[in-house]
Symmetry: C2
Subunit: 273 residues, 2 copies
């Protein structure tokens, strides 16, 4: 019922907006009070996760280099930066830039995904080259299967999103119908990325530590804490994304467009709402 009440307040056309303006002066910067704190917390968590991954690789795995056996270590670091931190931030763009023009926000959302993808691609090349040099088999583990699935879904989602929302752009009604699917699959791909990272972390620990893992070795404890922080980061991002009252409000021009669309499709005049 709370959700329903929220909907009544935030959704709809002129009736709802006139009610809102009765409650106080209409201001474009009407950001929900707690949102900035949650966003700041998510960024802190994300940076800690990236830093801990670096610390783990530096302290226990000899650091990072491209032209040596350390090439493997490029893989986890790139994946955490690209497919966890940057992908998570790309999902938050519509919550953080609530009052920017829709197009600017879309371009930023798309660009962050491009950065995430390119960084993840470097991480992918690193692990395949490492396997080739060492003569290891490719793509046999659950981690690798999930990882390839994430890459395929991420790429497909980006292509469809780009062609529907940016260029060439689909019709208003098609975009409206596709948008909730895009939002859902965006969150699902992000969650699968985090799950894949957890599987990879676990694999790296079991391969290297073996039975020493059960003796509470410092590396094992550090990696377990890293795993819990990864799960917490995903939870905070998901929380910010799904809070109904934190969703991006319609800007004036979008609202007008939406009313026109309703008028066209429902034969309803905006004022009769």
């Amino acid at each position: 019922m709370w959700r329903t009440l929220t909907c009544t307040l935030t959704a709809g056309g002129s009736a709802a907006s006139s009610r809102l303006s009765m409650e106080g002066p209409a201001s474009p910067a009407r950001a929900p009070g707690a949102l900035p704190y949650y966003v700041a917390f998510s960024q802190l968590l994300g940076l800690i996760v990236v830093a801990m991954t670096g610390a783990w690789l530096g302290m226990y795995r000899g650091g990072i280099a491209w032209e040596s056996a350390l090439q493997f270590n490029v893989h986890p670091l790139c994946m955490i930066i690209g497919l966890v931190f940057l992908q998570g931030d790309a999902l938050l763009v519509y919550r953080v830039f609530r009052n920017e023009a829709k197009r600017t926000t879309k371009v930023l959302h798309g660009l962050l995904h491009v950065f995430a993808f390119v960084i993840a691609l470097v991480g992918l090349v690193a692990v395949f080259e490492h396997h080739r040099k060492k003569g290891y088999a490719d793509l046999y583990s659950l981690h690798s299967w999930c990882g390839i699935l994430v890459f395929a879904l991420f790429f497909a989602q980006w292509l469809v999103g780009f062609s529907f929302f940016l260029f060439p752009g689909a019709s208003f009604s098609l975009r409206s119908r596709y948008r909730p699917q895009h939002v859902f699959f965006g969150a699902a791909i992000f969650l699968l990325s985090v799950a894949t990272a957890l599987l990879g972390l676990k694999e790296a620990l079991l391969f290297e530590l073996g039975t020493k893992y059960s003796m509470f070795e410092p590396e094992g404890v550090l990696a377990n804490v890293l795993g819990l922080l990864l799960a917490t980061f995903a939870t905070v991002i998901l929380y910010i994304l799904t809070r109904a009252d934190w969703k991006r409000p319609l800007q004036a021009e979008e609202q007008a467009l939406s009313m026109d669309f309703k008028t066209l499709t429902e034969g309803d005049s905006p004022s009769s709402q």
Copy 2:
């Protein structure tokens, strides 16, 4: 905008419901067309996941027994049945029983969680007893840390949910404010349960198969497919839960209550909407 339009149609009070009734005869059984197919698909996936877990344990791990070394195998089977299949189904109750009395649906939701918890508890006892008999260390791995976290969160969520929504029950406004948190954390705990299952599956494979895992052993391939199906099950459950137009509609008496509440809190008469 699609979401906004949907909200305008389904949410709100008398204005929205009169519009709905203008579109066709009001019927309580107005279930969204595709929902039953998605629910059926989720059930099929869930049963396949349970059956494959059983098949994996039967074919490659010697089956299940309480009083022997096979006691460990009780653990994955109970966790998949309790914390994945039953927990997932408990979340769907409000979508499937759309037109039952709210109280009946709540009791079913709570009971399914009790069944899930009891079955998971048997699985938890099995692994601790197995460790004790073999002299293995407890709670050193990321899987075990995540598992204990799932248990603690699941129990806390059930207790708070029970005391807010069933007995003794909180005030209308408190329940309204807590409901979205309960829904979010319910989904988050379910997702963490599935991630924990994936970590456990991976652990079981690496402990047992070792380097044979990279030779595409049938057990490894079976378990990888099981892992992907687990992730797909979680995705389908999440999709059904988050579809805005599949949310449980307010029943007549709840709608009246919601209107009374709005009248009381906003000083707004129901007819002025």
